[in-house]
């Protein structure tokens, strides 16, 4: 351990550490390298999960069984959900945290650099287990991404692989979150008080707390599942005094905070992008922080709204219904603040801003359908229909994914020193938002008309809207190939105009004001002191 890189000393001659080639990426302790790994990994998983989605939509293009057996169709929906949630969206946000948090708080790197490396390198293991489970006897898990008992206590080895994959991804998330919390609490530049932190950093701090609070609970739930499957325990078996409904309670105690884990960092990105392109400071900064924290706290007391049809006391239903509706208040504060930030701003509409404004519009629609689903008497009708599918794709695709796109276009000039192709970026936005709506808007009607989710075949009257949704899905999928090209062009091929230190004149966080583009390998050798 002789040649140690102290971040205090300039070591730019070692711009990429002591290893070259593949070993650079395997052994790296640099937050930017690890962020890059996270982002490419998540995009790869996004394409894998997307292909599963297209396999689903191909089957649903027409009524009747076209391509897949019903059992395999269920494997497709399950794996699409698990891969998108745990393989694509969550790691993508961690990738952004890795790149941005140290730069935005004026830190040399993440607090635990080696742990950071391992947090990432667990993920390919988990992804291999998940994707590999398609090829074991009996195929992949077909119990839905929620892996409800008793269905999930009955399946073959694919279910075990999914359980172990979830354990590993959970461990990765916990380690990553501990790292992010410690970095934010301990590595801020002098003068960067908590209440001066950029909103992206705030939202990630709160998200990391959600993760360390609920990922262990998921680990507990799937461990009980594993012992029920193989070691004769009766947690979810009524014959032994257990209860399958208990699995749902434990799962959703994890599951509801989990959906905020997937959207809060997105709120953070949008809260950086909107002020930058409105050339105004964010309206109501502190109320944004409190709103984020309120959403996080509320997320722990609303889980049973996923279980209204399972049966529970009326007092319980009312409590979970009102608590859920209450979340609309802090979320409304956020939407209000974004709109007010734009009010009388000197706005311009480059690709990041397009995605951010698109986000506000489409995410808010997803929020409203969530509000509708929170009302128990309506939920009884809509539970497990395509209305629910429409709702959570509005918040997860148009919410989380669009915010990720906004963040990519916003920060890629800082990461690479080059501008992405603006024209293609705009094409990507318009294709994405149009075909997103073509795909998912008709699903509201399908759900209201009573089409259940997770079925390979459906009654004839649903054919028209399904056809439209399938066309939209394939076009949406193809549009993401355009994004792959845009990303490759600006990152790997290094093509595009020189970006300069501060290409967005409304952006005023540390990475724009204190660091050149591309940002140096070690961000801040000396911490900036903020006045």
């Amino acid at each position: 351990m002789s040649a140690v890189i102290d971040s205090g000393h300039a070591h730019d001659e070692h711009a990429h550490g002591p290893y070259g080639g593949v070993m650079r990426w395997v052994t790296t302790t640099n937050h930017k390298d690890i962020g890059t790994l996270y982002l490419w990994f998540s995009f790869t998983m996004f394409l894998v999960g997307g292909m599963l989605a297209l396999a689903i939509r191909a089957e649903l293009f027409q009524p009747g069984l076209q391509f897949w057996h019903p059992e395999f169709f269920n494997q497709l929906t399950t794996m699409h959900g698990l891969i998108m949630v745990f393989g694509a969206i969550m790691p993508a946000f961690v990738g952004f945290a890795n790149w941005q948090v140290p730069m935005m708080i004026g830190a040399p790197d993440m607090a635990f650099a080696r742990l950071n490396n391992w947090s990432f390198w667990m993920l390919p293991v988990a992804a291999t287990l998940l994707v590999g489970s398609f090829f074991v006897p009996g195929g992949a898990s077909a119990a839905g991404w929620t892996i409800y008992a008793p269905l999930s206590t009955q399946m073959g080895p694919g279910m075990d692989l999914a359980i172990f994959a979830l354990h590993i991804m959970g461990a990765s998330s916990i380690m990553g979150s501990i790292n992010i919390i410690t970095t934010i609490l301990n590595m801020r530049a002098p003068g960067m008080t908590l209440i001066r932190m950029p909103l992206f950093v705030w939202t990630w701090l709160i998200t990391a707390y959600l993760l360390i609070a609920v990922m262990p609970v998921l680990a507990g739930a799937i461990t009980m599942l594993l012992t029920d499957r193989h070691f004769g325990t009766s947690f979810f078996n009524a014959a032994g005094g257990g209860d399958p409904v208990m699995f749902q309670h434990i799962f959703w105690f994890f599951g509801h905070p989990e959906v905020y884990i997937m959207i809060l960092p997105g709120f953070g990105i949008i809260s950086q992008v909107i002020p930058a392109f409105s050339r105004k400071p964010l309206f109501g900064y502190s109320s944004m922080v409190y709103a984020t924290a309120s959403i996080a706290v509320l997320s722990f007391i609303v889980w049973a709204h996923h279980m209204f049809t399972v049966g529970m006391p009326t007092a319980g239903i009312l409590f979970f219904m009102y608590a859920t509706v209450l979340i609309a208040v802090p979320t409304g504060v956020k939407v209000f603040n974004w709109l007010t930030t734009m009010w009388r701003g000197s706005m311009s509409f480059e690709t990041p801003m397009l995605f951010a404004v698109g986000f506000i519009f489409v995410f808010t629609m997803g929020g409203f359908t969530g509000l509708i689903l929170a009302i128990m008497p309506i939920d009884i009708q809509l539970q497990d229909t395509y209305y629910v599918v429409a709702h959570f794709h509005y918040v997860l695709v148009a919410g989380s994914l669009f915010s990720l796109f906004a963040g990519f276009y916003f920060w890629v000039p800082k990461w690479t020193g080059r501008m992405y192709d603006e024209k293609l970026g705009k094409w990507h936005f318009w294709l994405s938002i149009i075909f997103f709506n073509v795909t998912f808007f008709p699903m509201h009607f399908l759900g209201l008309a009573g089409m259940p989710r997770r079925i390979p075949d459906y009654a004839l009257q649903f054919a028209g809207f399904n056809e439209i949704a399938s066309i939209g899905a394939f076009a949406f999928g193809l549009s993401q190939i355009l994004f792959l090209w845009i990303a490759l062009k600006v990152t790997v091929l290094g093509r595009g105009e020189e970006a300069g230190q501060r290409p967005w004149d409304g952006a005023d966080t540390l990475e724009w004001t204190h660091l050149p583009s591309p940002a140096p390998y070690h961000s801040f050798h000396e911490q900036p002191v903020l006045g």
């Binding site: 351990m1 140690v4 890189i5 102290d6 971040s7 205090g8 550490g17 070993m23 650079r24 395997v26 052994t27 302790t29 830190a107 040399p108 790197d109 607090a111 650099a113 080696r114 490396n117 391992w118 390198w121 293991v125 291999t128 287990l129 074991v136 080895p157 075990d160 172990f164 994959a165 354990h167 916990i174 301990n186 590595m187 002098p190 360390i212 609070a213 609920v214 990922m215 262990p216 609970v217 680990a219 507990g220 461990t223 009980m224 193989h230 070691f231 004769g232 325990t233 009766s234 947690f235 078996n237 009524a238 014959a239 032994g240 005094g241 209860d243 208990m246 434990i250 070690h522 911490q527």
Partner: protein, 282 residues
């Protein structure tokens, strides 16, 4: 904040983490095949565990060398403190899932099985705790609180005292006292584990209480089993710290590794109190 050190130690690239991932891959694939009837899978699991142990020894060895080599100052120390605190918090949440399962079973699932709703299906089932459920008819004896469990409570509470005495000794530079009380702590931990193993044997052979004894057996063995696993890990950590004490590591003013393990040990202690009250006693 302005007067603190300006240099944060960022470690060089390291090979150990990828060994950890390889270990996890072996453990997961090996366990999945073993559980589904392919016996040789067990050797893959063992290989994975061996790789994991190797990785931890080498990685933590690096950390120990860096610490003793004076690479860490106050700034890094604060990071370690936050990191360990939130790690322990995540462990608390893991146990919370199992305690939650216990409360749910006792307060909701079992009373519901004995309620009017289920009289047609299981007319004879009396909803009382402990139970193995309406179908399992094999009689069993629940674990009593005031035998070995009470002794184990005393052992763990005493070990909390001895580790604190060792900490005082470390801060006052009394190395002999430090080593002696660390040894006591490890010995108490090992004794606890031996008694726990004896208790499990007793449960299986004489009480007919097994992991498969319905929801009572499930919650009993999973809660006490995961706790026992954490005591095992804690004892191993204490042993490493004891060895480091004997090797002359740690300074009176700077010894976070010791404190981290002590925190962990107190956490294990507190979980045991919860177990003693809710699993054994009430």
């Amino acid at each position: 904040m302005s007067d603190r050190a300006q240099h944060y130690y960022v470690p060089q690239p390291s090979h150990w983490m990828i060994f950890g991932s390889a270990a996890l891959f072996c453990m997961a694939t090996g366990a999945a095949s073993w559980l589904n009837g392919w016996e040789p899978g067990r050797y893959i699991v063992f290989a994975g565990l061996a790789i994991l142990a190797f990785m931890m020894a080498r990685w933590f060895g690096d950390v120990v060398r860096e610490s003793e080599g004076g690479k860490y100052g106050r700034w890094e120390d604060v990071s370690f403190r936050w990191g360990m605190s939130w790690f322990i918090f995540s462990e608390v949440m893991f146990f919370a899932a199992f305690f939650g399962a216990l409360y749910y079973a006792r307060l909701i699932a079992v009373p519901d099985l004995g309620s009017l709703d289920n009289k047609l299906l299981w007319p004879d089932f009396a909803a009382q705790w402990p139970t193995a459920g309406p179908v399992f008819k094999d009689p069993f004896t629940p674990m009593a609180a005031w035998g070995i469990p009470a002794i184990n409570t005393l052992l763990l509470l005493s070990s909390g005292v001895t580790v604190t005495v060792a900490h005082w000794a470390l801060k006052e530079g009394k190395r002999a006292q430090l080593a002696l009380f660390m040894f006591f702590t490890v010995a108490l931990g090992v004794t606890f584990l031996c008694l726990q193993a004896y208790e499990y044997g007793h449960a299986y052979s004489e009480l007919n209480l097994k992991l498969s004894t319905g929801v009572y057996g499930s919650t009993f063995f999973m809660l006490t089993g995961f706790h026992g696993f954490h005591v095992t890990v804690g004892t191993l950590m204490l042993t490493v710290i004891l060895a480091r004490c004997l090797a002359g590591h740690f300074k009176p003013e700077n010894h976070f590794a010791f404190e981290a393990v002590a925190w962990y040990w107190h956490f294990v202690d507190v979980v045991w109190l919860g177990l003693f009250i809710f699993v054994y006693w009430l």
